[in-house]
């Protein structure tokens, strides 16, 4: 097969499927993986796709999607958040009653969880609720209150939360360190999370690895309030040690095996 033809097939495949793995293309086109990797390299230079671990994703689609959903433009941690969402997906069962607090990573988690069935999702973040718009198989309960950017806070929110008890609470925090524990950037957020923790069976803390050891203004509580911590694979080794000694499950969300 000629290189041009191969590239045309790869392009068509990507336009249809949005992403593809090297192994899949090599099988499909019956050429070596080295050839495929070279083709992908070429297409990346053209700006058509972006190479990922063991494959590629369509570039146009990525940009197009960004406009469609309400996300911060140029999020540098997209891959990390997607990996964290993948792990969170595997910690929730159909029929669970869960809560997601405000946060961009939690929005990614919500997008992934929209594939589940019969979940009941409690949230104070509008973006989280929106992710379930096209997922009628799940129930979403949006809390009310004073709107600050994308989420609601205040006495009204906290009062209405007391009607619910959830199996699994996902809180997204802005910093974790050894001295102060878990921290967020606003007092209303800290207060809401404290109340939510009291009413949850399992508490999972969502936090990007680069925010470990950092500081933020308002303290939620000590780290051992968490049952699980979900972060990405760049977490510093000393924190793994520390968290294990506190009997907390640490999920580093590696995505490495190519299936």
């Amino acid at each position: 097969m000629f290189a041009l033809e191969r590239i045309r097939i790869i392009k068509n495949y990507l336009l249809k499927e949005n992403k593809v793995s090297v192994a899949k293309l090599s099988e499909l086109l019956n050429v070596t993986e080295v050839t495929i990797r070279r083709d992908l390299e070429k297409l990346e230079k053209e700006g058509f796709l972006e190479r990922t671990h063991g494959g590629a994703v369509l570039k146009e689609i990525k940009e197009y999607k960004e406009e469609e959903t309400i996300e911060e433009p140029g999020d540098a941690f997209r891959t990390q958040r997607e990996e964290i969402a993948e792990t969170a997906f595997h910690l929730v069962s159909d029929n669970d009653m869960i809560m997601l607090t405000e946060g961009l990573t939690n929005v990614y988690i919500a997008r992934k969880l929209a594939q589940k069935n019969n979940l009941t999702v409690l949230t104070n973040d509008l973006r989280v609720a929106l992710e379930f718009v096209n997922s009628p198989a799940n129930n979403v309960i949006l809390l009310g209150g004073d709107l600050k950017e994308y989420a609601v806070y205040g006495r009204l929110t906290e009062n209405s939360m007391q009607y619910f008890s959830v199996n699994h609470l996902f809180i997204e925090v802005d910093a974790i360190n050894r001295q102060s524990g878990m921290m967020v950037s606003s007092i209303s957020k800290a207060s809401l999370i404290q109340k939510a923790i009291n009413a949850a069976e399992t508490v999972s803390v969502v936090c990007l690895a680069n925010l470990f050891g950092e500081k933020s203004l308002y303290r939620i509580g000590s780290v051992d309030m968490a049952d699980k911590i979900i972060t990405d694979s760049s977490l510093d080794d000393s924190f793994k040690d520390y968290l294990f000694s506190l009997n907390i499950q640490v999920y580093t969300s590696v995505d490495i095996y190519e299936d």
């Binding site: 070596t32 671990h53 499950q249 640490v250 590696v254």
Partner: protein
Amino acid sequence: MDKPLLKLENVNLKIDNFALSNINLDLYGGEIHVIMGENRSGKTLLMQIVSGMLSPNAGRFFLDGKEMKYSEYSSHIKNIITYARQESEMLTNLTIAENLFFNNMPYKNRILKTIDYDKLNYMCQELLKELNLPISIYDKVSSLGLAQRQICEFLRAYVSKSKIVILDEPFAALTQGERELLCKVVKGIREKGVGIFYITHSLDDVFQLGDRITIIKDGRIVDTRNVSDCTREEIIKLMSGHYIQTRYPKIKVKTGNVILSVKDLCFEDKLQNINFDLRQGEILGVTGLAGSGRTLLAKCLFGAVDNVQGRIYINGSEVKITDPHTAISNGIALIPEDRINYSIFSYLTVSDNISVSSLKRFAHLLKIDVPILMHSVMEYIKKLNITQHPSESILQYSSGNQQKAVCAKWIMSRAKIFILDEPTRGLDIASKIDIYNFINDLVKKDVGVIFISSDIEEILGICDRVAVLSSRTLACDVSTRDITVERIMELATREDI
């Protein structure tokens, strides 16, 4: 029995990341003092201190009621102790008789040290007759099987003039007859008024032989008791102690089809009728005591030993796995327990170690495309957090990084069935957590994992099912939700039914 032969008080020792703390232990003449504890609980270290081989950081030592410094203690004890270890320490080119009486040979002429062979052979013959042993005294030790060597090792303790004897884990795979013989030998030693430390994993041994029992866990003595005062259940409870299963990262995965099915697997007289299924996305834990055949089972599945009986099915069709090459081409990966000898290529770099099983995929026009290969390898190194020095030999790396590289090798080769033999043993905690998270990534993508470990806490924390190897076969195969540490201990320590 008024004064102990030997007494240790508040002994402390710290080695790397393991510590023996506040050990108090004593031994009387004419008693069998059983020492029990899991692998890596510190039994062997403690016995090395007792036998004068390893100087502790602190502690007080008494021999026959007299306190002495460790240096003095160690020079005294060397003359009155025999330490019979698991690994045979006999001189394989000498006869059994010569080995048994090596330290007290009968001489014809004491000055010229000419050996009185008639007397030696007579003494040895009498001893074997007394114990009714079916061994010829003229045989060289090299011609003996493992079990027979073990018995000779014990006989050496029997004929020695030692006042203290340490017997370390009588070989786990002895037959019933050999076991009875061993009991006879041990009781014979006791009758001479000798004090015995007897290290074992078998509860039956405890009740058959033991006078007192000391249980050790994580370098601390849990309790010392008279055997007549305790029940099986109490000992199991003391051994299990406090377990924490909640700190292991474990995800929920819907399991798929049966990917590996093993029917009636047998190997020599060491493994019998092993049956189990492994599904896609499932983690099957295999545990058992040292010597129960865990590593052997892994080798059988990987074709690393010959003459394995039984049938193995992969994705429903039968395969004959006669060598590791067939295993690998069927998508089986083995991460062996002994990393240095069987797992890494010590003189290659980390990147070579990672890519070695996947080179075929990077061949283009009969040669390997190095830039593309390196690009791929670097991605694995980065994702697995392997400390970056890609040009150095892998031997320079920490054991955690070595193990991660071994994982990367099989992940890169896209194996479908992973057999992990003690993958976290001896690793730092951060690397352990990394390994648990790789396993999670594997099962998420439909890989089947067999996780062999002697750490029961770890097994219960990360596996979906657990099987216990005991008496040469799988004693149970149940969901980790339906079993307790106590029950696993009980199954692992049971004898032939």
